[in-house]
Structure formats: structure tokens, C-alpha cells
Amino acid sequence: MIYRTLKRESMAVLVDRLKEGGLVAPVREDGVVVFRPIQGDREVASDYINPTNSVKDVFLPQTESLFRFNTAEKGLEIEATPPEGPKYVLGVRPCDAAALELLDHVFAEGQYTDSYYQRRRAEVTVIGVACDQVGESCFCTAFGLSPGHRRGADVMMYRLDDESYLVAFEGERGHRLAEEYPDLFGEAPAEETIEAVVTSYQSREVPAGRVELDGITEKLDGMFEHPLWAKLAARCLKCGICTYLCPTCHCFCLDDEALGYEGVRYRCWDSCMYPDYTLMAGGHNPRPEKANRTRQRFMHKLNYFVHNHGEFQCVGCGRCVDKCPVGLHMLAVIYDIKGVDSDGGQ
């Protein structure tokens, strides 16, 4: 870990330099802040709680080509598509950075790993910005995170004073950034100052994060058949926004597109909230009802994932809280689960 400082006015210079290597950062677009590739004079936004889309987009793009194929003359050629992506992603909130380590469990660990994901993880430097504003929907502290957490981030910036940031560089990618631009970063402040600044962010109050999760996984072990799921699911519109915006949801489908002999196999995000997600040839569907799918979404995040990876599959980013049109979101559901008797009495 090394610390440096960065003058506010040097931020624009940093952005300009990162842009050359390929940069994704939050911009204001049609009234919302979203992560986008930064080209030309595009202005990086700084006044946001969290971009509408998550940093997942950089590592598991909504649509990506896996390979191209050519079947001309009754042959078959398959050519892998080198994974594209930026070299830097800037403006990442601590919850999103932490979510990358949850995606790692799925794509970078175990018997099978996804080399495209891994390559992006190896090559993209994640530059976080600690949160000055805590949103009403934020509940990161429920998951042991905080507005100043550094899990999953290579670099984290904290506001030091009106003129400068305190910048923490971690690991190989973080250190490389510090070394690459020595002219931009100033000497670290005194240790007590660092300690005070970081602690002030890490101990910042996150009101919605007071929700207590102890015992919820164990309670859910016995709630598979609970009437709560049907009650919750009744209002779901099957829009899938919750899963698309979630930085930890990773479900995808594979799709071919061909014109003549040539074509591409794409990987595209999918959603467990869609009826055809588990629809099999012949019409059988193991999760035919919204209740089955709602159960799947919340069981996966609060129970199955915990069994498989030892932690919840949620970082409390609050996107589903803000964006589900019918209020069927993680925070509400946690309270609903806590509020019912696990045996089905309400």
C-alpha cells in the first residue's frame, strides 16, 4: 500500500492520460450518470451517488462476441474474439469494487474459469472514489463494507480537503499507476492525517445499512416452500432491471447470429426473472411462476451463494432499491424475510 496526494486540478490531467489507454468513467447522459468510455472532451461526472449501471459492465459486458465462425465449403473455422475493454475504470464506488470480488468467485475460481473475464480483471485498473454522499438506498455496511472500503479496488481516492485527494494505491496494478505518473501525485501526508481521513470515510454512517443479516441464511434454509415468495412476486413486472443493474448478478445466455456462412456467438446478460430463462424444449419449465423466480433471485443472493462461496451475493449498492419499479428489492425483501415466521405463519 502506498499513499499519495492528487490536486483537484490534476484530476483532469489524469483523466486525459488514462483516456489514451482506454478509460471508462461516469458521465452525465440524458439526465442520469452512467459509466461510459471516455473519448474526446467528454466530461467525467463527479456529483453522483452511484452510476446507474454498475462496473460489472466493464468486466462482463452486456453483449460480447465470444468467437466468430465460418462454415464456408462445408468446413468450420472458429476464431476466438480477443476480449475488448478499457485499461482503466475510474469513479468506482467501494460497493461496486467489492462486487468484483464476488464475480471472481464465479468467473475466476473453481474447476472452470472464464479467460475473458480473467483477462479484463488482470488488465483493468479499478480506480475508486470514496463516497462523500451516502444515498438513502445505500446499505453497504450491512455487508461489512463502508463508504471508504478498498476491497476490489486498485486505487481509492479520498477527499483530503477542498484542494486535494488522498490516493491509496494497492497491489501491482495500483502501484503501477502511481509509478507511471509520478509528476501528478504528490507526497503522502502525515500518517495521522491518512489515518484520520480513511477512518472518517470508513466509519461514515450509512442509515439503511443498519439492517441486520445475522442468521438470515440459516432462516432461509427452511423457507423454500414459504408463502412469502408468492406474495412478494405478485407485483414483479418481469422487467429484469434488478438483475441487469446489479453489480453481482452474472447470469447470461449464449446466442448465435449468422449471415450466410459467417457468424458470431455472443454472450448476453440474461435474467432469472424472465419466464423463458429456464424454459426447456418441449415446454417444461422448472420455474414457471413469478414466485419461483423471485425465490430463486433472493435465495441465490442470500442463501445458495453463501453456501457455495461463504458470503452474500449483494454489496448493498442500492440500485435495485432505487430502480425496481414496484419496490421488490433486496432491502425490502430482507425485512420481509426477517418479519415472517420461517414455518409459513405470517
Binding site: I78, A80, Y112, L254, D270, T278, G282, N292
Partner: protein, 277 residues
Amino acid sequence: MAVSNVLIPKPATITEIVDQTPDVKLFRVVPDDGEIFDYRPGQCAMLSVLGRGESMISITSSPVQKDCLEFAVKRVGTVTEALHDAEEGFKIGLRGPYGNNFPVDFMKGKNLVFIGGGIGLAPLRSLINYVLAPANRSDYGQVDIIYGARSPADLCFKDELKEVWPKAEETRVHVTVDVGDDKWQGPVGFVPPFLEEVGPSPDNAVAITCGPPIMIKFVLQSLDKLGFTDEQIITTLEMKMQCGVGKCGRCNLGDKYVCVDGPVFSLAQLKELPQEF
């Protein structure tokens, strides 16, 4: 740097196609690089028809057969239809093997009762031919193969049912059809009551069953009546699949992914999982 990914198949060629039933064909497949992956009975592979998509199919050949991989495919939708339209020499994409396998070690020294329905004989066939191979035959006891299909025309692997397996050492083949025809002289009736009629003993036996869900449901009841315990019953599950490697998220039962933790489960294991299949 060469780019690769677990989700990218390798080119392979369909070298032979053998009609089985009006809607099932057997495909012999050889990878274009000549390297047939090692696999165990019960494992599956992803077959791609480029431009159409990809399907998970059980490897119906047995590992003792070294010259090609065999897949029996029922025509039900986009990819399977395209495979049925293919001719010998057609190029497909192949990746695998995927999933767990039948517990061949646990079954050693035991009598084996195979109960199959329709295309469900495909995964069982891999194990049957593995067990009946000279190198392995003495590791296993009596083999009973109980199999049924809708009609005589719908029976898969007719040659082996008629000519090969009945002649194998300590092996009995029992075949039934839901509805007979002019030429059919064998038993008529559904698999579960037929199984009870055949009445295999549960003593030192393992039952391995695969078929349509409705058949499995009643076969399990019949096996229970015959005295088989949940540990003695092995079955395979089918779930919608896309990736086959535990990442796309859709094939789970609780915290298990059927593509990597299955498709083979004992009934005892299945009862521990959420009943969502």
C-alpha cells in the same frame, strides 16, 4: 497471445448418422484435431450447430470405445432439428466433457438394474457398455436392462437390445412398449408396472434410471415398493443449460448446479435438494 475460452467449442465432424426412431438419430463424432477427450459414463458434451446454437447431450458411447464419440439426439427444437437435418461429414462444434458421472466404483460388486424410457436409454447405454466390456465385466454382478418406449418404432438402440446385450454374460434384457403394433410380440405396458413385474431384487443391487420425468416419478415409487433404498437409486436430471460450466446460472437446484454437480444424483442426494425440477 492465443485467445481461448471455456465457452469456445472445437470443430468436429459427424462421421456417421444412424437412424434410431422417427425422432432420434445416433451421431458418431470425431474432433477435427483427432483428440477425443477422456470421459466417464454419465458425462455430457455441448454440441454446437453454428448459427443455431448449442445443446447439452449425454455421451452415449462408452469410454472403452476409442474411435469416436456417440450422441443420440431427439429432435425437439432449433439445435436438435439442425442436427437431424445434417448429413455425414457435417461440421459441428464440440466442448466437454461436462458434469459428474455414474458412480462406477460404488457400483462395483453389485447387481445393476437399468431402467430406461425413450431417449433416456442414451446415458444408461454408456454405462451398460462400460460394465459389459470384457475389461470391466467381472467387477459387476447380474445386469438387468428394463426399457420401454411409446411404440416399437420408438425403441432406441434396437440392435443392442435384440442382438448384443441379451447375449452378454449374466445379462437380461426386458423390453416393453406403451402400445404395440402388428409385429410386436413382446410385453405391452408402461415401464413402472413392467418393472414391478420383472421384480428385480434390491439385495446388493443398484438401480439406475433415466427417462421422461413422469416415468421417473412412478419408477421411483415402484423401486420403493420393491425395497430399494434411496441410496440404491441413481438417476440423472435434466435442466435448461447454456454454459455447462456453472456460470450462466440457470441450471441450479438450490446451491447445486446440475451442469457441474450433476446430472447424476442418488435419490438420497436429490431428496436433500429443493424440489424444483
